[in-house]
Structure formats: structure tokens, C-alpha cells
């Protein structure tokens, strides 16, 4: 593989890792607060739809982003209602949200646009343009570094940079601010937070809302950055992969970046090399398709070891004694 191909694969990796990363960080906020969320998929999906739909109707990608975020946050609040206020089963609520998003998006899309659960293709201001970073053109002649900068680092849509900047931001919020301290505490020991006079419910709702916000960005990126419109089920399991990445990352922001890049790379490689020929034996395309999933299992079983989740994860908080 020559350098250029490598750059292209990595470029594709960055594109594919971005929605995973945003969703993974979304899950991180939620689960660090003790609310397990397998509804990332659904939230991304609904955000993808509404961002594309509003962008198509208004021609503004920013309004689209706003709509995507609002819709994902609303679904988050449904999850919050079920798992925080009514102490329901968080896994089930997540499953329901995934179904709900899968159905509602197509239903509404059909009602609004009549194109079989698809939004019209986005054009012009309805999509995120790619940003060329300063000096990208000037530097592209420089060997090694030049193409790296011009092709890999420069030339992505704004949301890609947002996604990557979210990593240090998440870290900082979590470990350097009062909100972060309380958030981590409520996922470990809600009773400690409660007796310290801080509202468990408030904190968890805040976390769940942030989760919705990030899922909203992730979904918008899918539909208005990576693609030019919404098609049904366009998240295609990314929410679950993000969840696996979260466990792999042991609920830590920098590790999440690594995990998502790894999964992005696997997807990029699987897309690029459909039938790998290993000295006469052709690896069938299905193996490449399944590779990210197989690797997830292998990683979970073999390398993650004891990934200790936030202690109160999945447990609704009930005041007692």
C-alpha cells in the first residue's frame, strides 16, 4: 500500500469515525451519570432525519443541525423520563427508542416528502461544505507532511473538527469542573450525591440531555455532512458500535477517541478492500463486513479485561434508608 492510498484510507477512517466518536462521547456522558443508553442509534437516526429534513426545507444546514439536536434531545428526555423519573428498565427504554426512531423517521419522511422515507437530496447551503485549513494548498507540495496535512487533516466538514475537539472538552468537563465531579459521582454513588445535597435527578437529566446533544450532532453529520440527505436506517448499527467502543474505552474520553478511530479504520478497510487475496485464499467480503463485529467481541473478551462500568449504571436511584 503506497502512502497515498494509506492517506485515503485514513481519510475515510476520519469520516467514518466521526459519527462513532460523537455517539460514543454521548454515551459516555449518559453512562458516567449512571444511565445506560442503548438508544444512541435511535437518537442519531432521528437527528439525521430532522437535520436533513429541515435543511432541505430551509436550505440552511445550521437550522438543520438545530433541528437534529432538538429532536435527539427530546428522545433523550423520553429516555430520562423512563429511566430517571419512572425508574424503568433502561435497556428496554433504549430498545424502544431505537424502534421509535426507526419508525417515526420513515413515517414522517413519507408524510412530508412522499419519497419513500427519504428526504430530498440536499444541495448547496443544505450541506456542510468541507473546510480547507489555512496553507493546505501551499503545503501540499511538501513531501510526507504536505499531503498528510492537505488530505487527511484539512478538508473535512466543520462537524468533524467539532467531534474531535469534543474529546479534550469532554475530558476537561469531566475531570476539571464541578459539574464533572458531580456527574462522575452520580454514576458511581447517587446516594452520596443526594446526601451531599445535590439533585440526582437534575444531574442525570443534564447528562442525558448532553447525550442527546452529541447524538444530535452525530446524526446531523451523517445526513448533512457525510451524506446529502436522509435515507431510512442510515445509522446502520453505528450506535451499537459506539457503545462497544465506549466499553472498550472504559468510559474514558481519550480512550474513546482511540476506540472509535480503530472501528472507523476497520470499516474503512472493509469498504476499501472487499475481497482480500491472501496468497491464493480469498477472504470473502462477508468476513470483511463482519470484521468490526468480530473484533469487537474479541476485544471485549480478550483485551478489555475488567472494564468496570460506573457502579450505579443501569440502576434507577431509589431513596432508601
Amino acid at each position: 500500500m503506497d502512502y497515498n492510498t494509506l492517506l485515503q484510507v485514513l481519510d475515510s477512517t476520519v469520516r467514518l469515525a466521526t459519527p462513532l466518536l460523537l455517539a460514543c462521547l454521548a454515551g459516555l456522558f449518559s453512562e458516567r451519570s449512571g444511565v445506560i443508553d442503548i438508544g444512541l442509534e435511535g437518537k442519531m437516526l432521528i437527528a439525521a432525519f430532522f437535520s436533513a429534513a429541515i435543511a432541505a426545507m430551509t436550505g440552511s444546514v445550521w437550522l438543520g443541525l438545530g433541528a437534529g439536536i432538538v429532536s435527539a434531545v427530546l428522545l433523550s428526555l423520553v429516555h430520562g423520563l423512563a429511566s430517571i423519573t419512572f425508574r424503568g428498565n433502561q435497556l428496554i427504554s433504549g430498545v424502544a427508542i431505537n424502534f421509535l426512531a426507526a419508525g417515526l423517521t420513515v413515517l414522517i419522511a413519507q408524510d412530508w416528502f412522499g419519497q419513500g422515507g427519504r428526504t430530498p437530496s440536499l444541495i448547496g447551503g443544505g450541506r456542510w461544505g468541507n473546510i480547507t485549513l489555512p496553507f493546505a494548498d501551499t503545503l501540499s507540495g511538501v513531501p510526507v507532511i504536505g499531503p498528510l496535512y492537505a488530505q487527511l487533516i484539512s478538508g473535512h466538514s466543520l462537524l468533524v473538527y467539532v467531534g474531535f475537539l469534543m474529546v479534550p472538552l469532554t475530558w476537561w468537563v469531566l475531570f476539571r469542573t464541578r459539574f464533572g465531579l458531580r456527574l462522575r459521582a452520580v454514576g458511581e454513588s447517587p446516594e452520596a450525591v443526594d446526601t451531599a445535597g445535590v439533585s440526582v435527578v437534575g444531574l442525570r437529566y443534564a447528562a442525558v440531555a448532553i447525550c442527546g446533544l452529541l447524538c444530535g450532532i452525530a446524526g446531523s453529520y451523517l445526513a448533512t455532512g457525510l451524506q446529502a440527505g436522509f435515507v431510512k436506517d442510515m445509522t446502520a448499527g453505528r450506535g451499537y458500535i459506539a457503545l462497544a467502543a465506549l466499553i472498550f474505552a472504559k468510559w474514558r474520553p481519550w480512550h474513546a477517541l482511540g476506540a472509535c478511530l480503530l472501528f472507523g479504520l476497520l470499516q474503512a478497510v472493509a469498504l476499501r478492500y472487499q475481497n482480500i487475496d491472501l496468497g491464493g485464499i480469498t477472504i470473502p467480503v462477508q468476513v470483511m463486513d463482519a470484521l468490526p463485529y468480530i473484533l469487537t467481541v474479541v476485544i471485549l473478551a480478550g483485551f478489555v479485561g475488567k472494564a468496570i462500568p460506573p457502579r450505579a449504571g443501569g440502576e434507577p436511584y431509589v431513596k432508601e434508608r
Binding site: 419519497q115 451524506q227 446529502a228 435515507v231 469498504l271 467480503v285 463486513d289
Partner: protein, 311 residues
């Protein structure tokens, strides 16, 4: 009344199923008739839809997609008075005299757009994105490659399939990534025979400023000036004709080829600039030769192999 059953890709895939829809709409408009249609979502529904429509007296019942041939095979015998049409599918006419199978010579149309692609290419590299990896789609790819090679002997033809399941008809994200990969390998014309996935292909091609070729319906309008042409497969005509014939539809197996105008390439205002007169002349000449039998386009399905491309 006639009924129309779309395959899993859905009525608005902008290509195959949508062509059938357009044909039906045209029929309804012209004749003032009405028809009923349904988008399938599940396997068990195939037979169910056939039966329910047959029981309700719809005739003929037109279906798109090869996956409907097995269900029709199961059902046709129970409703001898109903005519069934399977577009792209094949049902033994001996066994079920009330079924019409409509097939297309996709390789011929693909040959023509392959020629156009080769003539438009500046990098001498063209590419193909298929939907689900089935013999039908390979026939597209094979015809395309033959056409391209007829123009330029040493042209490189890159062919990728989106997947191996019906989901491959509806995965624009993957279509887009495949196109990106092909562009990075030098392709500057990409032919998408991939149903809804093609939308992603055409989009990426337009974004990256290369040419693309649409399929089934005329997709030139999707990105005016950036879609070189579309390989037409006149599913709309087939649907229209079947509806027009109504209950008197002639059954049996029919293959629509260039000479029947069943396949072809699209030329309209959107791509007029892109197709030069020489190009058009060359293609029209080839078209005539194919009709006359002077050029023989190999059909992948005849022997599961392709002389111009390896999969």
C-alpha cells in the same frame, strides 16, 4: 384494476422501482384508470400481497424484482384467472400459463453507456458500483466493461459491489465510500447500478467533480451537467404496457432489448453538453450493430462468466 407490487428497495428508489411507479402513473393519467400498489417490507408479505390482491380481483398483478418469482410460482396456480407479471424474474411458462416474465437485455444498454464512459474519461479509468452482488448486476457490469473496452483497449474498469444482501440496494453511505475509493484509484466516470445506493454514488461523483452514469430511470436530472447519461431500462414502459393490456395480457417470457427500445441510454437537456456529436454517433452506430447482430454483447447470465471483467 391492475395492482403493482414493488420490491424491497421501495417505490422511490429513483431508479428501478420508481420506473415502474412512473409507468403506472403515466397509465393512470392517460387512461384515467386507477391501480393499487404496495411496498413490501417483509418476506412473508410477498405471497400475502399476491393473494390478497388476487382475491380482491385485481388483474393483472405486476411485480418488480426477481425475488417475486418464487412467491408467484407458489401462488399463480391458486388463481388461474389472474394474470401475474414478474419484471426481472422468471417463472416457467409451461407450469404457470397465467404468468408473464419480463426480462431485459441489460448488457446491451450497459454496453452503450460503457462506450460513453470510456469516451468521456480522461484518465482512461472508469468504474462501476453495483448494488447486491447477483448475476443480474454482474450482467450490467459485464456489458459496461465490454463497451468501455470496445472504445479503448487498455482502459481500466474498476467494479465494486455494495453488498450481498438486499440491504445493498439502499446503502448510499457505502456507495459514497466506494465511489471515493474508486476516484482515488483514478476513475473519472462511475456507473451506479445499485438502486437507492446509487444516490450516494451520484452525489459523491458530483461532489468530487467526476462524471456519473445513472441507471434504470433517467437520472440525468439529479445533478444536471454532472451525470453523463443514464442506462435506461424501460421498466416504466413494461409496466405501462402491462396495465394497458389489462386482463387480456399476453403471458409467457419476453426479453426486451435494444431493438424493442427496452434498454437504452438517456439524452436530454441535462447532459446535452456532455455528449459530443462524435460520441453520440459512435454509440448510435454500435446500437445499430448490436441490433443487426454485428456486435454480440456477452450476457454474463448465459454462462456465469465475463470476458471483459473478472469479479
Amino acid at each position: 384494476d391492475p395492482a403493482l407490487i414493488y420490491d424491497l428497495g421501495g417505490k422511490f428508489d429513483k431508479s428501478f422501482n420508481e420506473a415502474a411507479f412512473n409507468g403506472a402513473e403515466r397509465w393512470a393519467e392517460e387512461t384515467g384508470g386507477s391501480y393499487r400498489d404496495i411496498e413490501l417490507q417483509s418476506e412473508a408479505q410477498r405471497e400475502q400481497a399476491l393473494r390478497r390482491f388476487a382475491e380482491a380481483g385485481f388483474n393483472p398483478i405486476i411485480t418488480t424484482g426477481f425475488s417475486m418469482s418464487t412467491p408467484i410460482d407458489n401462488v399463480a396456480g391458486d388463481y388461474p384467472d389472474t394474470k401475474f407479471v414478474t419484471i426481472d424474474g422468471y417463472v416457467d411458462p409451461e407450469e404457470h400459463p397465467n404468468v408473464k416474465s419480463i426480462l431485459f437485455a441489460e448488457e446491451q444498454g450497459s454496453y452503450l453507456v460503457g462506450m460513453l464512459a470510456a469516451m468521456a474519461s480522461e484518465t482512461n479509468t472508469v468504474s462501476f458500483v453495483g448494488g447486491m452482488d447477483i448475476p443480474l448486476i454482474r450482467a450490467f457490469a459485464c456489458g459496461y466493461a465490454q463497451g468501455a473496452k470496445a472504445v479503448s483497449d487498455d482502459i481500466e474498469v474498476i467494479a465494486n459491489m455494495t453488498g450481498t444482501t438486499p440491504a445493498a440496494w439502499n446503502d448510499p453511505v457505502k456507495g459514497s465510500e466506494l465511489t471515493n475509493a474508486q476516484i482515488s484509484q483514478g476513475s473519472d466516470v462511475v456507473f451506479a447500478a445499485a438502486g437507492g445506493t446509487g444516490i450516494g454514488v451520484l452525489q459523491t461523483a458530483a461532489d468530487k467533480d467526476i462524471l456519473s452514469i445513472g441507471v434504470d430511470s433517467n437520472q440525468n436530472y439529479l445533478h444536471p451537467g454532472q451525470v453523463l447519461t443514464s442506462m435506461l431500462k424501460r421498466v416504466d414502459v413494461a409496466t405501462y404496457d402491462a396495465m394497458q393490456a389489462g386482463a387480456d395480457l399476453e403471458t409467457g417470457v419476453e426479453t426486451l432489448a435494444l431493438e424493442d427500445n427496452g434498454v437504452g441510454y438517456a439524452l436530454d437537456d441535462n447532459n446535452r453538453e456532455l455528449i459530443t456529436e462524435e460520441m453520440q454517433a459512435a454509440v448510435d452506430e454500435a446500437r445499430q450493430k448490436i441490433i443487426d447482430g454485428e456486435i454480440e454483447v456477452h450476457d454474463y447470465r448465459s454462462d456465469d462468466s465475463c470476458p471483459a471483467l473478472s469479479f
